[in-house]
């Protein structure tokens, strides 16, 4: 399996005698050593039981290249989410509650370990402000409608004297026509 890549890696490693000091003039060797490292760094032992998904879903993946949670980061061998899942599994096996596991992560990494800002103190603003914005917008719409709404048409007020005068004029005109 993968014979040619492994053969190249072995050839390069033996040529370097195990002392891999990469230089710009030997990119091929460096590439192959890195490829070997990449193979070694990988493992499919990602633990994703429902219990780990539940806790991991509240924790941020801090690998720096995604905005996923520990549960949803799909990068195999991710240097943050893979060990984090293993730690969660160990703590759960030791009988720790979800809250205790999450607290442990926060103790180690600070609040940035949480996938979303905690709804307390200043960070409460992160949750409140979008809805405050909607509330302000609703008030603005109310004021706009109040200001620019056409007033309901009031029933016409008819002055009897004026009406009488118009009737007279009509009668006169009709008489002239006859």
């Amino acid at each position: 399996m993968f014979k040619s890549m492994r053969r190249l890696i072995h050839k390069e490693l033996s040529r370097w005698g195990g002392h891999c000091r990469p230089t710009a003039s030997r990119p091929r060797a460096l590439l192959l050593v890195l490829a070997a490292g990449l193979c070694l760094a990988q493992s499919s032992s990602d633990l994703l039981t429902p219990a780990i998904r539940r806790v991991g879903g509240t924790l941020a993946c801090l690998c720096g290249s995604c905005k996923n949670t520990v549960a949803t980061c799909q990068m195999l061998g991710c240097h943050y989410s893979s060990p984090a899942r293993e730690r969660i599994a160990k703590m759960q096996a030791a009988g720790m509650t979800d809250e205790a596991v999450i607290d442990d992560f926060v103790k180690r990494e600070g609040k940035r370990a949480l996938a979303v800002p905690p709804a307390e103190g200043f960070n409460l603003l992160s949750w409140v402000m979008p809805f405050v914005a909607i509330a302000i917008g609703l008030v603005a719409i109310y004021l706009y409608v109040k200001r620019y709404r056409k007033p309901a048409a009031s029933p016409p007020v008819v002055d009897n004297a004026a009406l009488e005068r118009y009737h007279e004029e009509i009668e006169n005109d009709l008489a002239k026509l006859e």
Binding site: M1, F2, S4, M5, L8, P27, R28, L30, L31, L34, A35, L38, C39, L40, Q42, S43, S44, D46, G57, T58, A60, C61, L62, G64, S65, C66, K67, N68, T69, C73, Q74, M75, L76, G77, G110, K111, R112, L114, A115, V116, P117, P118, G121, F122, N123, L125, S126, W127, M129, P130, A133, I134, G137, L138, I141, Y144, V145, Y148, R149, K150
Partner: protein, 671 residues
């Protein structure tokens, strides 16, 4: 060559500064020749930037590794397409592309309006060239694409370059950035016209009529750019995600949202002469969010995988944004008298009101995304502690807002302009409402328990019913009158009012997008360590590893699995996921294999090899229900946008309901 390129940029910078001064002075001193010379300067700037861009592309294609930009972003082994795409693969080149596209837009604007809008055009030219000047300062001094590699006083060169980031060596990546830039840069034009009309105290509808097409075209480019980026992420990053709420992704979404709000609210100004201040605010917000997005990508203020390397140009952007926003706010406040509404709302139950709510929800969504993007920076500044604002935050805040917007997409067409009666609303809502409820009930009975998924699918049905009803009613009336068949009548109907019916097609595209997003609630995944002959299953698929191969070429080495896919008993096809290791950058990438279907995608990623001595291939398998509808939605939206741009067969006359000034002047006076 590098000197010629640098001189071209410097000359363009001088000419852009001249164009600003000449057009404003010419207008104020009433010297048309000066204004004309400024316009000629715009064409010359285009020529100079075309020359500079051509030189950079030539250097990239021919591997001129004396230039530090070429050495950093290109190499000999890359295919020609990606060598060309290296133009925008790095900071300096992408800024040159920005400047070049702006000069192209400016030249087109000046040419097409050379005999029109003479009162505001000098100001429009000045604003376009002011923005041009800013970007030319960046590429003339701190971020020159023509810097050479030097040792002491001598120019040197490296034998080969680093190459373009392997993740960017994918066909959509060759199109996605230019599309986004065409969007970002394009919004400068309506902004320039809006501000030009304010400066000239002519804030009527002329700027809107002139820039309507620009805005729609630009919006189309921005949509294309965003969704091509989503397509790239889906097909390249190896985890099947298309949107990660990364700050730079968010930065591209923000102006798109405000532009969408503008495209709706501008109808209020066209038809009713209302919301003039709001439209000014929206177009200005769109422009400044474009600049903010460019700033975010390049300043390093927030961490992002998409960001360019940290650079000192952040402060230039801050200064530009501060001056630009202050000037815009001053102009709008100073010209409020010219922005008075000409009409009144006749009823709360009207299309006008639905536009108000549409704008509110779009802006709320924009604010929520902006807030989530910058909140970590604000929080750290205030509390001194870093926090994360990741995908769950955006999903919790934006999903309900998005669903409400989807509802409004369906409600809008059901409500008449001016006023609707409760009775007519009942009639209009009956069929779409019942269909939506039936859809939700059927899905619930079928076992769908995800609340948002149920709501989304129900609302998709609701909007589809309203849009189909609109086409059906219109086409049936035309068919009855002309004797055409229904399909021909539908084409005729669309041709008569391209904006309206093109808009409905765009709305259908939005429905398809939501359908695709909703599928996310039902994703499945599994990770499997396999050797040749092994079988594993996911969803309704059985997968059998037929072969495992490896090899290499000049650009990269690769490992590939050949996997037969069985759906039930029959062979549904063979997928070949691949992992690559690029030699120049020493970076691995995934070439995922996808079996795309409208109901679901089967997605395989060759993730690596186990390190336990067994040397098994690690295959990540995913089933993504409905995700293909996102790409169907994209194509539908672009089709709708193109239809909106076709001149209508029947020219619409929008009678204003009531002009306030007219009523006051001519109102009958009691004797």
């Amino acid at each position: 060559m590098e000197n010629l390129g640098a001189v071209a940029i410097l000359l363009a910078l001088c000419l852009s500064a001249y164009a600003v001064l000449a057009s404003v002075t010419g207008k104020l001193k009433n010297k048309p020749l000066l204004v004309l010379s400024a316009e000629r300067a715009v064409y010359t700037i285009w020529l100079l930037l075309a020359l500079a861009s051509g030189l950079l592309v030539y250097a990239l294609l021919n591997g001129d590794f004396r230039l530090s930009y070429v050495a950093a972003h290109s190499n000999r082994a890359m295919p020609v397409l990606y060598k060309f795409a290296s133009w925008w693969g790095g900071m300096e080149g992408s800024l040159l592309l920005w400047a070049f596209l702006l000069s192209t837009y400016s030249a087109v604007v000046v040419f097409t309006n050379r005999r029109k809008l003479r009162t505001i055009m000098p100001y429009v030219t000045a604003i376009l060239m002011g923005v041009q000047c800013f970007f030319l300062i960046l590429i003339a001094f701190p971020e020159s694409p023509f810097q050479v590699l030097a040792v002491g006083r001598g120019i040197t060169e490296v034998p080969d370059g680093n190459g373009l980031n392997p993740l960017l060596q994918y066909w959509t990546m060759a199109i996605h950035p230019p599309m986004l830039y065409l969007g970002y840069v394009g919004f400068v034009v309506p902004f320039a016209f809006a501000m030009g009309s304010l400066i000239a105290r002519q804030p009527g509808d002329a700027w809107i009529h002139t820039t309507r097409r620009w805005t729609i075209i630009t919006w189309g480019f921005q949509t294309t750019g965003i969704l091509l980026g989503a397509g790239w992420a889906y097909a390249v990053l190896g985890w099947g995600g298309y949107w990660g709420w990364d700050p730079v992704e968010n930065a591209s979404l923000l102006p798109w949202i405000t532009a969408t709000a503008f495209l709706h609210s501008v109808m209020m100004q066209e038809k009713k002469g209302m919301m003039k201040v709001w439209n000014m605010v929206l177009i200005a917000a769109t422009f400044f969010l474009c600049i903010f997005g460019t700033f975010l990508t390049r300043s390093g203020i927030v961490g992002s995988v998409h960001a360019f390397a940290q650079s000192p140009i952040g402060k230039y952007f801050v200064a530009f944004l501060a001056v630009g926003i202050a000037a815009t706010v001053y102009l709008i406040l100073d010209r409020l008298d010219y922005l008075k509404s000409e009409s009144q709302l006749e009823s709360v139950l009207s299309r006008e009101s639905s536009f108000l709510f549409n704008n509110l929800m779009l802006l709320a969504s924009c604010f929520a995304v902006l807030w989530g993007t910058i909140f970590p920076v604000i929080s750290e500044a205030v509390t001194g502690e870093k926090i994360s604002v990741d995908a769950p935050f955006y999903n919790r805040v934006n999903v309900p807002i998005g669903l409400f917007l989807l509802l409004l997409t369906g409600v809008g067409p059901l409500i008449a302009w001016r006023r609707s009666s409760v009775e007519s609303l009942k009639r209009a809502f009956l069929i779409p409402g019942v269909l939506a409820l039936v859809t939700m009930a059927v899905l619930a009975v079928a076992g769908v328990r995800h609340f948002y998924a149920l709501m989304s699918l129900g609302l998709c049905m609701f909007v589809t019913a309203t849009v189909v009803t609109e086409f059906w009613k219109g086409a049936r009336a035309i068919a009855a009158r002309t004797g055409q068949n229904l399909a021909a009548a539908m084409i005729e109907l669309t041709h008569r009012n391209t904006r309206r019916y093109g808009g409905y097609i765009v709305h259908m595209g939005i429905v398809f997008l939501f359908l695709g997003f909703t599928g996310h609630a039902f994703n499945k995944d599994s990770t499997n360590d396999v050797r040749v002959g092994d079988k594993f299953s996911i969803g309704r698929y059985e997968l059998k590893v037929r072969d495992l191969l490896d090899g290499d070429n000049d650009n990269y080495s690769w490992r590939r699995a050949r996997i037969d896919v069985f759906a039930g008993q029959s062979l549904a096809g063979t997928l070949e996921p691949e992992q690559r290791m690029y030699k120049a950058s020493r970076q691995p990438t995934s070439e995922v294999a996808i079996r795309r279907r409208l109901n679901e995608d089967l997605y395989l990623n060759f993730a690596g090899v186990t390190n336990d001595g067994r040397n098994l291939a690690i295959i990540q398998a995913y089933v993504f229900p409905l995700v293909s509808w996102i790409w169907v939605g994209f194509v539908t939206m672009i089709a709708g946008t193109i239809i909106c741009l076709i001149p209508p067969k029947v020219r619409m006359q929008y009678a204003r309901t009531e002009v306030v000034g007219y009523v006051q002047k001519h109102a009958p006076v009691n004797p």
